[in-house]
Amino acid sequence: MTDLTRLTAVETAVAIRDREVSATEVTQAHLDRIAAVDGQVHAFLHVDPEGALDTARRVDAGELSGPLAGVPLGLKDVVVQKGVPTTVGSKILEGWRPPYDATVVKRLREAGVVILGKTNMDEFAMGSSTEHSAYGPTHNPWDLSRIPGGSGGGSAAAVAAYEAPLAIGTDTGGSIRQPAAVTGTVGVKPTYGGVSRYGLVAFSSSLDQAGPCARTVMDAALLHEAIAGYDPADSTSIPSPVPPVVEAARQADVSGLTIGVVRELSGEGYQAGVQQRFEEAVETLTELGAKVVEVSCPHFVYAMPAYYLIAPSEASSNLARFDSVRYGLRVGDDGERSLEEVMSLTRAQGFGAEVKRRIILGTYALSSGYYDAYYGQAQKVRTLITRDFTAAFQQADVLVSPTTPTVAFPLGERLDDPLAMYLADLATIPSNLYGGPAMSLPAGLSEGLPVGLQIMAPTMRDDLLYRVGAAFEAARPAPVPPLSWEA
């Protein structure tokens, strides 16, 4: 028997359906793999063998079925799962077991997907390297001394290291796509409103979106379809049918499509190797029959500043609920201190440096007297960025860019330089501000490390990502990580 952990999700599901292998065997193979390598990768914060094997048994008993029944998955620790510890990578929630399931989890359960455990992340999804996890960093399977991207570094690394064929990420400013790019995997941020946010611990409510992480475009499409769709529990959920992403991945054809290269998402700040792989990718798309045009989105240069005002502002409010009253950590309750003191001590000790930095920044940006210049202005810029997208989509069906300006940087390199860290999301942020879907997929290597190609589509045209992505993937298969640290 081949190594079950090397199969794609599609292959796994088919093998289980055809009874070539049981879901229990597949699950056990992945639990073993986690036991073998996660000490080095640290993709998981919590592994749930009982829960995983229980689901697998139910699949094997025929109680659960569907295109992904029996396929193992890593769940980013920002998604609440009933009874399973959910920390959001923070000390402030250590030990908390949610009394309810996120909608995404409900859908995964119904689809018979085997949830192996919770994956590591930057605390409250704030970061681009997973070094801001309160539980220690995740290591990039391509080079353990490098970052796996963030905030969803755990999900991307788990997929890249064959600990799971699938994972769930969340993307507020690039937290699915940037890790996908630097780990050589596929990551998709669906259209905002396409996947329910109910049960995602909120970072920035107007930007957060959950999506699939996988090793192939088709695997991502299947997971996308499993978790997407209208949810009345999320007021921002779009009441329309899910775009036909699986069908589009099958179609895998770019002929007749116009692809726009965004002038503002290249050049200065982009590594030469990254730029080179990107240009080759565009060539490939041309060879595949797409028409390529250059488009300009002049306000994209303001995307990062707008993002670093909007996201911290919303976060400062979203994170106020972590106050030591109803759940989570409580520090300093000695019977003498007042609630205000206990609350302030708890939050000071429970939150890490980056979270505190963003809470303070967001509190500042929302303060009376500063609101108009910061939060208000940032939202106006958001409108202009959306107009840029709309105009660009008049000229092109999808837009492309490098996903990240650089390949994976060494752990620790940017930890003390927040601004340098923020630059990692330069190209991914515009889609979050606009709300449209975007994908990152492997586009070759630079200095032996993966480079990501980003594809951006109009709102609710997630299918176009898969159509283009699958065509590209067929022409330029993803490089395989050497995993030389094993053995």
Partner: protein, 506 residues
């Protein structure tokens, strides 16, 4: 607690203060809507449930939970706005009001800030036969907070407590806030105007059937703003008194604040802009947080909720279906019943006009209804320190008692006992009659013995009657009534006594 000059400066009597200063008042009224479920989740809203049994991930502010707007709450808010002659905003958003407080699960309140649902209305109230127009600035929708129990202090108050216990059942109940513009020109009776406003507002809300408006249960709560200025001067610095939870307290809160501020101003003092807490027991307020270091609420549009854009046709429908305004209904009924201006004025002042009209609606003759509410019930309200409307008896129950009397099943005295039984929470009038055994004894056989006993016990009176002094029968009737614990029909007793004594009346 901060100290203010109020403790040392003598107050100025109300009337005197208002001869010297002009008052400006403002009222913020919070109304818990009577929806079945909460504002943003499906939890029940029932009052008095076991602590923390009506909570879910949403209203407990659990990580990841998201709100969804209750359509009925929007409808009720719009209806309130329409009843108060407001414009309904064609588009608006909820906002987050950020501040930390343990009653508030998310540490922000989802409210409306610069885009309230209803704006620019008014409410006319009658005070001393004059109409005062109260301008309404806004009516907006928000969510209520949980409730804390303060433990370890002597009074159950926050001050001096060792710790607090929080119950989130109330958190997330839809709360409508009705804010007046500053009300000027109330002259010598700002306190009466304030009370009349809240009373009228309560009647409107009750008529709309959007809330049970029970001040004692907190479903209607008032914050009262007061400032004073000398004629010709700019408005003074205002104080905001919170916790005003009965109609009588609304009046007392304004009154005591006028007296307190006048005392300070008269001695050249300065009014501090502050929040004051009203204490029902003393009828006084004490200083709370000083507003000089204003809290920065960092409002911003709630990203978890999408904008509201009420459809114009729907608003028109709601408007057409509004019930008759209490003031109009009152005027119409007063005319129909032929009540004199003076009479209806007296009833208005006593706070019973609506009750009388509702009792008439329930079938009682106007005169009987009037007598009950201005008489025995007004007395009962007074002894209990309540407004007549706050008595635990409904107009329908009063009408039933009247019906029992006119059917001869109760005497006037028994009727009062029945009413007292209802007030004591013994149930419906018929249940009280049954339980207390208060039906009139009209069985003549049963009364005969009591009649004989009375005659035997008072031979002198009996002789006088036999001698033709019929008016002396009163004493004997009295003792028979006493012996039968009031359950006999006095006219039957009288007839039996006279028959027994061989006297015939012409």
């Amino acid at each position: 607690m901060t100290t203010t000059t109020s403790k040392t400066t003598p107050t100025v009597p109300y009337d005197e203060a208002l001869r010297e200063f002009e008052p400006v008042i403002g009222l913020e009224t919070h109304v818990e809507l009577g929806t079945a479920s909460k504002m943003f989740c499906g939890c029940a809203t029932e009052f008095g449930a076991e602590p923390n049994t009506q909570v879910c991930p949403v209203c407990l502010g659990l990580p990841g939970a998201l709100p969804v707007v209750n359509a009925k709450a929007i409808e009720s808010t719009i209806r309130i706005g329409l009843a108060l002659h407001c414009d309904i905003a064609p588009w608006g958003r909820f906002a987050r009001k950020n501040y930390f407080y343990p009653d508030m699960p998310k540490n922000f309140q989802t409210s409306q800030y610069d885009e309230p649902l209803c704006v620019d209305g008014y409410l006319d109230v009658q005070v001393d036969g004059e109409t005062v127009r109260i301008p309404i600035e806004r009516v907006h929708l928000e969510e209520d907070t949980g409730k804390s129990l303060h433990v370890g202090g002597s009074t159950g108050r926050i001050h001096g407590a060792t710790h607090s216990l929080v119950d989130y059942n109330r958190a997330g109940i839809p709360l409508v806030e009705i804010v007046t513009r500053p009300v000027t020109g109330t002259g010598a009776h700002p306190a009466e105007v304030a009370k009349a406003y809240v009373t009228e507002l309560r009647d409107i809300l009750r008529g709309l059937d959007v809330s049970d408006v029970r001040m004692e249960q907190g479903s209607l709560r008032c914050d009262v703003n007061v400032s004073l200025n000398r004629p010709g001067d700019d408005w003074g610095t205002r104080s905001e008194t919170k916790n005003v939870n009965s109609l009588r307290s609304v009046e007392r809160a304004v009154r005591s604040e006028v007296e307190r501020q006048a005392g300070i101003l008269r001695t050249g003092g300065r009014i501090v802009q502050e929040t004051r807490h009203f204490h029902e027991d003393t009828g006084m307020s004490t200083s709370g947080r000083s507003k000089e270091e204003a809290t920065d609420y960092r409002y911003f549009p709630e990203p978890d909720l999408v904008p509201l854009a009420p459809d114009a046709d729907w608003i028109a429908e709601l408007k057409a279906a509004l019930p008759e305004a209490p003031s109009l209904r009152r005027r119409r009924l007063v005319e129909q019943l032929g009540l004199s201006e003076l009479d209806s004025q007296a009833m208005t002042n006593a706070g019973v006009l609506d009750l009388v009209l509702a009792t008439v609606d329930a079938g009682a003759p106007a005169a009987e209804a009037r007598n009950w509410w201005l008489g025995h019930l007004a007395q009962q309200a007074n002894t209990r320190g309540l407004e007549p409307a706050e008595l635990p008896i409904s107009p329908a129950q009063v009408a039933r008692v009247v019906e029992l009397v006119s059917a001869g099943s109760l005497t006037a005295g028994l009727a009062r006992q029945v009413v007292d039984g209802v007030l004591a929470g013994e149930g419906e009038p018929d249940e009280v009659v049954e339980a207390r055994g208060l039906a009139v004894v009209s069985d003549e056989g049963a009364l005969a013995a009591a009649v004989d006993d009375a005659i035997a016990a008072q031979p002198d009176a009996a002789d006088k009657i036999r001698a033709g002094k019929v008016q002396a029968v009163g004493a004997l009737v009295g003792s028979v009534m006493k012996a039968t614990r009031g359950q006999a029909d006095a006219s039957v007793v009288r007839r039996l006594l006279l028959e027994r004594l061989g006297v015939t009346e012409d």
